[in-house]
Symmetry: C2
Subunit: 372 residues, 2 copies
Amino acid sequence: MSAYRPAEIGMPLADVDTPALILDLDAFERNLDRMDASLKDRSIRLRPHAKSHKCPEIALRQMQRGAVGVCCQKVSEAEAMVDGGVPDVLIANEVVGVPKLRRLAALAKRARIAVCADDSGNVTALDEAARAAGVKLDVLVEINVGANRCGVAPGEPALRLAQAIARSRNLRFAGLQAYQGAAQHLRKVEERRAAIEDACALVRETTELLEDARIACERVTGAGTGTYMFEAVSGVYHELQAGSYIFMDVDYARNEWTESGVPRFEHSLFVWTTAMSRPTPERAVVDAGLKASSVDSGMPRVVELEGAEYVKASDEHGVLRLNGNVRLAVGEKLKLIPGHCDPTVNLYDHYVCMRDGRVEALWPISARGAVW
Amino acid sequence: MSAYRPAEIGMPLADVDTPALILDLDAFERNLDRMDASLKDRSIRLRPHAKSHKCPEIALRQMQRGAVGVCCQKVSEAEAMVDGGVPDVLIANEVVGVPKLRRLAALAKRARIAVCADDSGNVTALDEAARAAGVKLDVLVEINVGANRCGVAPGEPALRLAQAIARSRNLRFAGLQAYQGAAQHLRKVEERRAAIEDACALVRETTELLEDARIACERVTGAGTGTYMFEAVSGVYHELQAGSYIFMDVDYARNEWTESGVPRFEHSLFVWTTAMSRPTPERAVVDAGLKASSVDSGMPRVVELEGAEYVKASDEHGVLRLNGNVRLAVGEKLKLIPGHCDPTVNLYDHYVCMRDGRVEALWPISARGAVW
């Protein structure tokens, strides 16, 4: 983490230098409240994905509102969360290779840690790492419920892997990881609902086999911001891993959200940028390019400036097309909504947290770059 | 910069944990030599773009081979270069806003610094910042030679801005920035040649006006890896800003390179990754996703594993499609060529520098994240 501080406490937004990652605290807290309210009176736990924010300050606020812990994708991300005071982390992913397994087992001495597996050789390696560290590790079987990424097939293959975990002296079978990642950005509500119904059928097929084999499945975990309400009401999931709901982004905003009971989360995360060039009436160039706002899921969106569209990103430039008589002088600052919040957050060392137009806090993104 | 060290000196590649950014030093040095040889006996200077590598260790090696200094895109990048011992930096970009202009002027006391401008108000602000710091700043006029990003129009508008700079008490008109960024990835040699011929005509139109106005234009600077030989032989450019030639990437490899005199640069930069899941015979998942290899210009490419194609990136997963009987077990490591080197470098804190299969050095990417 660099020594650079992007802003000082109390500073008005206009004085915050650019590019900076701005968090609107009121909007962020409303999103926390909306999630809370949408799960009220439901017997389902929230375990938000920390890969979205990479920030213990945020994880702890999620836990203050009832989250049972967080998910991470990498051991290094989990280490940053535990270092920041988070007591319960599910690595919702496979962890492979001796150095990482050693660190994972060591972390399990400091916090409640669980991890996923989809390979019997990896289960053996997890058992050995747990033995060497003198810990008992919680391991979930990841099943493929339609994302076609990691995960064993539901049904018999999942049962066999659960049995292998249950037989391992230093491991404990802790449930099923069943994340339907491919469903999150299906644009229509009905498509997302159908994809999660299919996923639920695959989970049920597996939990019934586990039950027949007298292997307790204490936890089925999955879901994202795009679908979580379907998992919440499914009766088969126990934990929800939504992450992006706290921020939202352009890609999630493209989803239709007409389902009753699904709250409208609002944009709370912005890239603050300066118009650095006004070469023609139809073009402005801002100082936030693809090293300031990830374009993997499309361009960022200009807000609060009618007629301006962000059309092209290079490393350190964003080209805006201006339609009509848009007023935007060199040196003026504006807000962008990132195309995809997770990798955009990973480009910064701090959130500049704003309330009532002033900087209230700087929250370190301490798991920035934690890919190992 | 995190305290994490991705490898130890002397370690064999197989032991380097993943994801890691690997630099093949022999290939890197051959690329330096190729650039050197291609410019031998030509009266043109090389000023490589440091936005590609963000690493003073690399900048100093480029200068040892005859580069006159480096380019940067941001003041913070230039600060990192000067801190690392680079004595001569051109910020090949506009710098806007009082805090950045103050830092720019302060930096000009520590190194030879030049900056670009395309706006008369910005010229006034540069003059004021230089006055306040007690320095004389070199300012180039950026002209639009076809990239349609920043830059005033060539000809009269450029002349007027050069006159404004020349009139400013604390500035010195230092030439023209004329980078044709849109030409770099035109796939056919003839398309790139034609684009640079057009750019040269626009430069000439401008330098002739400057000459008529008795304003000395000591430097025309521009070019990238895709086109630099055309600028080199043009007779109108004095400095080349190629950056990616040291690493190459998948996007540049898609260019045709049949022109005699243009060396074939080779891939020296790789993302080292582990197969973390083998769910089906046709699919493997690696631990390098879009937070480990930027996908803004397309997917990374698998090397040294026939029949494997990287087809989909999520945050921390890369999905490989395996055609035929590809052997790749969970835990095996492989190399990827990044789709786009610049933003991929920006995801790491170190280059793991390899020679003869062992780690020779770790070079800090000290300008990582330097966007401000």
